[in-house]
């Protein structure tokens, strides 16, 4: 199937994190450029070849935005904020259950809070980082998860990043961030992702 100009621009944008500055302007300029070339009589295929593969063009744009590793303190604070939010939501539910059903509810309630809640939290983290590069905590503390070249991470990378949380070896994984140049955890190195300071908004 032939790629349309809109498909091309969408693919370029999809390869960039949502927080990339001036995304809308990049799209408008590319659309304008393609229209201009089409008017001068060039075939769409030639024009798109001149612009390069969408992922490659996105990477060229992103290479112009310097990446600064997020400070470890801010990352810890963001994680704490991420954890506090669901815990704050779960505590009233467990309390209500306890008031309604008494002590018999407590083991059940706590199991739900840590097991079910933990799993939901894990899924939330993966989906949020995959879709926008940011959880609530990361948004609050101005940081974003990207590929090592600055591009948006894939679903697979989002899963691999969070495996240490799922299999309960998070603390060992975190230790790597103290010694690696770009402050990456072991599973961030493995997934070729990193956490950087989010670029200034437009």
């Amino acid at each position: 199937m032939t790629m349309t100009a809109d498909d091309y621009v969408t693919n370029v944008l999809n390869a960039m994190p949502a927080a990339t500055p001036r995304r809308a302007q990049i799209a408008a300029e590319l659309r304008g450029h393609i229209a201009e070339r089409l008017e001068s009589g060039q075939p769409l295929e030639t024009i798109l070849r001149g612009l390069g593969a969408p992922a490659q063009l996105a990477a060229s744009y992103l290479s112009e935005v310097p990446l600064a590793s997020a400070p470890l303190g801010a990352r810890a604070a963001a994680k704490l904020a991420d954890v506090c939010l669901p815990v704050a939501m779960a505590i009233p539910i467990v309390l209500l259950g306890w008031l309604e059903w008494g002590n018999a509810f407590l083991p059940f309630g706590i199991a739900i809070m840590f097991g079910g809640g933990g799993l939901l939290f894990w899924i939330y983290t993966v989906v949020a980082e995959w879709q926008s590069g940011q959880t609530v905590g990361k948004r609050l503390f101005g940081m974003i998860v990207v590929r090592e070249d600055g591009a948006r991470i894939s679903g697979g990378q989002a899963v691999v990043r969070q495996l240490p949380v799922l299999f309960q070896f998070f603390w060992i994984d975190v230790l790597f961030a103290l010694f690696t140049e770009r402050r990456q955890r072991a599973f961030e190195l493995l997934s070729k992702t990193r956490v950087v300071v989010a670029p200034r908004p437009d």
């Binding site: 408008a28 304008g32 070339r37 008017e39 612009l51 060229s60 744009y61």
Partner: protein, 124 residues
């Protein structure tokens, strides 16, 4: 076990930096005579250098993006009669200062290289 070969400098990276630096200078120079939009910049660069500095569209736009973020150019949008918006780039004062700096550096580099090549051509 054989020893590891000595580390080679990143030639690809150096080439890319050199190209990027010269392209930045070329674009700033072109904009010093007045505002222009992307397609116009590509066409002018190709025409004024008789095709020697033919750049791809995919190379130009990320460089313009960097110049804009660095504050070297101002931008304004205009939608001509046909309805497709154009983004015009114009040099800022910081951009002019950067152009002067890059021009000085480029001239010194080109002169040094020319002197070197000439001295090697001459019989000793």
């Amino acid at each position: 076990m054989s020893p590891e070969p000595p580390a080679q400098p990143d030639r690809k990276g150096n080439d890319r930096e050199l190209r990027r630096g010269s392209l930045e200078l070329a674009i700033l120079h072109l904009l010093s005579s007045g505002e222009a939009y992307g397609y116009e910049i590509v066409s002018k660069l190709t025409a004024r250098t008789n095709g020697a500095l033919e750049i791809t569209d995919g190379t130009l736009y990320p460089v313009l993006y960097r110049l804009e973020r660095a504050g070297f150019v101002n931008v304004r949008w205009e939608t001509p009669g046909r309805g497709v918006p154009r983004k015009y780039y114009d040099l800022t004062e910081t951009g002019r200062a950067e152009l002067a700096r890059l021009t000085r550096e480029w001239t010194m580099f080109a002169k040094a290289m020319t002197d070197l090549l000439r001295s090697e051509e001459e019989p000793t």
